[in-house]
Each structure stands twice: as C-alpha cells, then as structure tokens.
C-alpha cells in the first residue's frame, strides 16, 4: 500500500518537474499553437452555419437558428441515396483496384537487384504525383478522347472506338486508372520504406531453405509490411465518404453524372455555385462525421483483431 502511495507521489513530482522542464518547449510551441488556434479552430467556428439560415449580411453570429433543418432536407432529398451510392462506390473501386497497386509496385521494385535501375524506376514512378489536377485532367481528356491514345490502340487491334468520357460506366475505371497513374508510384514509397526495415536474416534463412523469390515475397515481405498496410487501409476507410471534388468537376458532364456525381461535387455546386451556404456546410459536416465514425469503428475492429491500429 505504502509503496503505491510513494509511487503516486513520485509520479506527481515527476509531472511537476516535467512541466517546468517543458516550459522551454512550450515557448517553442507558441507559434505553432497560435497557428492552429487561428487558422484551424478559428475556421471551424464556421460550422455553426450548418444549423443556421445563414445570411451574409447578418453574419455567422446573428443569422437565424434553424437547428437540423438542412440535415433533414439533405436526408430527405431523393438524390441523397444516389450521391451516397456514388461516393461509396467510387471509394470501393479505389480500395479494390487502386489500393493494392502501390503494395504490388513496392514489392516489385524491392525485387529489383540492380541498384541503379531500381533508382531510375522509383524516380520515374513518383513523377506524376507532382502534376496539378488541371494538368492531369487535361491529359485524361486527351488520352480518352475518340482520337486519343487509348482509342488508337483499340483501333489498331481492330476494336471499336469508345467515347470514354461520355459513358457513365467508364467514369469510375477512368478515375481509378488515372489515380493509379498519378499516385501509385508515390504511395509505394511508404511500403518500400517498410520493406527496407524487414530483417535481412529472414531472407537469408529462406534462401538456405530453398524458398523461391515468389515464396519469399508471400511469406516474408508481405507479413513484414502487414502493419503498414492495415494502417493505410484504416486511413482509406476513414475517407469512405470523401472524394476530392476538383478532379471530378473537371471530368464529368451530363452524360456521366449518374455515376460521377459525388457528395463533394454536389456540395460544390449547391454550396458554392448556387450560393446555398448553410446547406453546403451541413452536408460537409455530415460527411465529416460519417468519416470520423467509420475510422473509429474500423480502428476498434482492428484493435480487436490485434492488427496494428491507428491509436
């Protein structure tokens, strides 16, 4: 009993000391914290607007309070389900077809024995990540048009040309493929780094046992990066309801709307272009809360399954 008390006391003293010690560190933190308070939390204050009938003249503080009106409107909107469906589907597509690519790519690059070649491949695969969205979309339109690269290849093989950007069923594949083109190389860095920290002795032992390289990948490399994969997966799940609006806005049109229109583009059209500020903010908030919930739930599941979790 006594020992426990003493332990507590010690702990307390330690904490006080730690605070005093931290004083200097807090001084360093002053600017960053100020930054977060002003630019992040200051801006979050705006979220109140989601519960108001916002009037720019009256401002955030004096606008009329309407409670959950906008949330109800959104949930009752016949278009609501389509939006949710499109958003979730787009993310599911990304999870299924984009998510594994960086992992595979990293495993493949990791298998390249020639150091210089490895470096060249890495360097080039990261490149597209640095292009802005307009540039990427300009490229996509060009490549996917009727006279574009893909159609030229198709017709070279005697297949019929397709107007890809005009077909709703092609929108998701195009979107995901372009994501792969732009980001797969970049995202593979994280797995590559994880791979480099896998114990070399494991491979050596495997070689002695006569395991093929493919077997080494499956039995050593993959398990070695499993925790990183699960963390990335968790992060991706947290974004299940969010898809960036910018790229889609630049690529969709009336014909592809039925698969391309997602929550963020809708928010942009309603909230910004049609100046329905309260409504847009409400939908935004809704999306953020769902995202937060998913990530928490997924994390719980991960903790139960005893794989790596976010916190």
């Amino acid at each position: 009993m006594k020992t426990y008390q003493r332990h507590d006391e010690l702990h307390h003293i330690k904490r006080m000391k730690s605070f005093k010690k931290s004083k200097e560190l807090y001084l360093l933190l002053f600017l960053p914290i100020l930054y977060f308070i002003i630019f992040k939390y200051g801006a979050m204050f705006w979220m109140v607007v989601a519960f108001e009938d916002y009037d720019p003249i009256k401002g955030v503080l004096k606008s009329e309070w309407v409670g959950l009106k906008w949330f109800k409107t959104f949930l009752q909107d016949p278009y609501f389900l389509t939006l949710i469906k499109n958003t979730v589907l787009m993310n599911v597509w990304c999870l299924l077809f984009y998510f594994p690519v960086p992992i595979i790519l990293a495993l493949m690059i990791n298998e390249v024995r020639q150091k210089k070649l490895k470096k060249v491949v890495q360097t080039i695969s990261y490149l597209p990540y640095f292009f802005s969205v307009v540039v990427i979309c300009g490229l996509i339109v060009n490549v996917c048009s009727l006279d574009g690269l893909i159609n030229q290849i198709l017709s070279a093989f005697g297949m019929e040309k397709i107007s890809f950007l005009n077909k709703p069923e092609w929108f998701r594949p195009i979107y995901v493929l372009s994501e792969i083109w732009q980001k797969a190389g970049w995202s593979s860095i994280i797995y590559l780094a994880a791979l480099s920290s896998v114990d070399v002795q494991l491979y050596e032992a495997a070689v002695v046992d006569g395991a093929s390289r493919l077997k080494q990948i499956i039995h050593i490399s993959l398990p070695g990066i499993a925790s990183v994969i699960s963390i990335q997966l968790l992060l991706a799940l947290g974004e299940i309801l969010s898809v960036g609006y910018e790229k889609i806005m630049l690529l969709y049109n009336g014909a592809t709307m039925e698969t391309a229109d997602v929550i963020s583009t809708y928010v942009y059209r309603r909230g910004i272009i049609s100046a329905d500020f309260s409504y847009g903010t409400a939908v935004n908030l809704f999306q953020a809360i769902i995202g937060l919930t998913t990530i928490i739930l997924a994390n719980k599941a991960a903790q139960k399954a005893e794989t790596a979790s976010l916190w």
Partner: protein, 551 residues
Amino acid sequence: MKKMKRLGAIMLTMLMVMQCVACSGKKEPTNDNPSITPTKGVSDKEQNNPEGEKKSSLYFEDTLSFTWMLAESDIPLKDDILTLNWLRENMNVDIHIMAVPDSDYETKLSTMTATNSLPDVVDVDSNVIESVAGSGMLLNLSDYEKSMPDYIALIEGEDRANNTATYKYNGDIYGFQILEDYRVGIAPLPVIRTDLLEKYNIKTPTSWEELYDAMLIMKENDPNNYVFSTRNGITYLLGNIAYSMGAGGYGATQNGFPVYYEPDQDRYIYGPAKDEFKNAVQYLANAYKDGLLHPDYNIMDRTMVTSYLTSGTLAVVIDNTTFTNSYNNAIQELYPEAYFDMLDPLTYGGNTKARQVTFSKDWDQFTVINSKVERAEDLVKFFNWLYTEEGALLTNYGVEGETYEMVEGTPKLLDSISAIGDYATLRANYGLGTWYIARFVNENTYMDMFKYQEKVTGIAPVNMTQADRIQKLKEEGILVHTQSFPSFTNEETERLTTLETNLNTVFDQEINKFITGQRSMEEWGSFVEELKGMGVAEVEEIYNTAYSRLK
C-alpha cells in the same frame, strides 16, 4: 556557427524580399496622378487640359476611385490602358480593374458574397442578382434614378422596356446591364463546309431533313468524317434544334434550365415536355446511330472542336456563327480550298417558314454596386455616363485622333488601327469593348475592320456577309431574340431552385441515353411523364404568374 550565420542571412534576405512583394501587393495607391486632386474642380480641370478640348461632360472634383471585378479570359485586362487613362485624365475617375480568371469567376464571386466582402463594383449575371439582391448587399439603383437618366431612357425605350423589366428585383433595378447599340450579327446556326457541298454536288440544305441527307452523303464519301458536333454539350445542341422544330429550351437561352418563351402562345413553357421536343431528340439519336454525330459530342471544348474541324473530321458544327472566320483561317492552312459558312435557319417537317432563336438582344451581364460604397451617387452618375453618346464613343472607339476619326458625323477606326485585323487584339491593346468597360456596345468597330480587310485583300470576310444575312433574317422575323425570364419573388425562387435542380438532374442523366440508343425512343413518352410528375406544371405556372405580373 558559420552555418547558422548563413541560415540567418538567408532568412533575412527572404524576409526582405517578402516585404517588398508584400508592399507591391497592397492595393495600388488609388491615384496614379497625385497631381489630380483638385480642390477647385473647374480651374484645375483647365489646368490639366490646357487646350480645353478634351473636357468631359462629367468631372469629379475629388478623384472617384473604385475597384471593379471583371472576368479575364484570353484578353488580358490592364489598368494602364488608353480608355482607363483617359478617364483618369479627363474625368478624374480612377478605375482599378480586379481581373479574376474566367475559369474560376463563379467560385470567387460566391465566396465573396458568402462573406459579404464584394469589391466596390462587380460584373454578374442575372441569376446572381436574383439570389443576392434581396440580401441588401447590392446598391438599389432605383433610389438614384435621378442620377441615371440616360440609362433609364435606354431601358425604358420602346424596344426593350419589356425585356429589361424582367431583370428588376421586386420592381427595383440593381444592375447596369450591358446594352446593345449596334451588334455584328450573331446566331447559333449550323456552320458547314460549303466546299464539300460543292464537291459532292449537294444543294445547299434548307431544311433539317436536307441537312441530314447532306451529312449522310459526306459520311459516305469520307467515312473518317464524323460530320457534326458542338462544343457546348448536348443541351446546347438540343435546344437550338428543338426551337427550330417547334419546341425550345436550352440552346441560346441564358439559363441552364429549359424553360423558354414560346411566342406562338405568349407564355413560358418547359421545353422537353412539349411534343415537338421529341423531334429534336429523335434527330440527334438518328444522327448518332448513323455515325453522323461525333461520339465525343459532350466533352468537346474549343480546342478540340477546332482541331477536329480543321483536320477534316467534322464538317458541320452548331455554334456561335462568328467563329466561322477563325475556322476558315485555321483550316485553309491545311486545305486551301476549304470554306465554312453558315446555313440560313432551317425548316422542318414540311413547314415553309423557318424559325430560329438567337442570343438575347442585350447581354446577360450586369454591373452591380456594393451597397457599402461611400460615393454611391457619384458611381451611379459615372455608370450612367457610360451610356451617353460620349461614354459609348470612348469605351467602344477609344480616343479621337488616337484610335478613331469622325467621318461625316460617324466615328470610324483609323486605318492603322483597323489593320490590327482581329478584335481580341483591338480590345486588349486599347481597352475597348464588352470585356473591358463598354456598357452600351457598338460593334461597328468590327465592321470597320472587316471593311478595311475587304479593301486590302479584295475579299469580304465571311463574318461581314453573315452579319448582313443575320440582320435581314431578324427583320423578317425568322430569327428572334431569346426572351429573358421574368423576375420572381423570394418564395418563388426558393421553390424553383428545388424543382429545377431535380428536373435538371434527371434530364441530364437520361437524355444522353436516348441519344446514344441506350434507351429506345419509344420510352420517350413515359420519360416525359416522369418529368411531368416532378413538377413541370408548377414550374410553368410560377414562370407565367411572374410573367403576368409584368404584363
């Protein structure tokens, strides 16, 4: 230690550079000529203009300076330019142009309205007035009617009283509309490769059916030719064809919603629900099936259409006819014999008389004033001045002796100016025309250029002959201007937003299926019923109620 010092030095330099840029970033000192801050207006004015000839009828004793937000596209907007400098010198009006990239104008405008931080003066379209005027953010110009006699006289004139009344909000004026004084003829008509018509011995089409046959012949002779498309998406194509076939909506109307004014019935109608609309859809569906409509019809932008037209993959395009000139210039580099020209409005289904709708008479672009400005009355006076003969002359023709001369009482561009050859450069170099500050637009400047070109080359530019033809078509009543929408009350607007958003969503999604054959045309009837079930009748009623208030 050495390294630290270097780091310090770098940071210091950086800070200094930052300060410099920061300074230059601050708002320009609003007065370029500090000497013009007269206390006694008249005498100072004479001091500035010793010849006393360049006097303007309107002069402000204290510099009237304000920021004006305008969309900038291909034409760069500058403060230091002939017209704006003239205003500084002769009227003591210092305009500072806030050039916002056209591609993102709406986003910027919306953010500024959301935060009530609009600049002094902004250019907007009628939709924005409708959604913002009620908030009190914009200056109610009707309170200053006495200071704007020239503008009032124009908008209440016989030829536009009806139309401009539709832009009032709750009976009040909130924006200075860009008005037409003289405009080079322009219409959304089919533009066609006439050299191909000759080559294949096709009679110039006068009806949609004949055009279809002509396109078929072109396709037969050159299977690589997709024949036709547009660069504004399917609704634009549909709208213009539909009007010609007896329905309407979309196309050259100003709004993204297919309600249009039907002159035959003197009321507003939701186009797609009208029986005749089906003809247009059917026409395009057939064209798609027969390989006449370019499969990329929905995604073409200016660059794409141009490159298809000039490479010979397209022969017909429905578009703003004034593009014809640029198409010809571009294609003749590749095929010297190629020639684009517009078709006269086409008849349909055995009708003898064609009908075609064209862009509204005046522009759907308004200059609104922030209600927070201090010198509201002076600003109103200045904008009114832009509609006077003097103001129109400056903003369209520039400065006498520098850009134009008076010939028998009418202004004419100097030959050296006409030699520039294209309007974009003319506007860009001298600050003229709609994309700068002209509010009462006189496009005779372009005609001067065409005439000059004709004089030098001996060939009349196609736009010149088209302008004459379009003028004649208007006089004959075949080509009519789009009628603007009546203005609505707040409740009406709110209801319309909901109805229109839903209707548009469904229409946009389904229409392409009909055209590409995913849905059979036999289902069209049930599709229209579906649309009707979503409140078409209510929409039409709201429009016509608002319209009856005007009458």
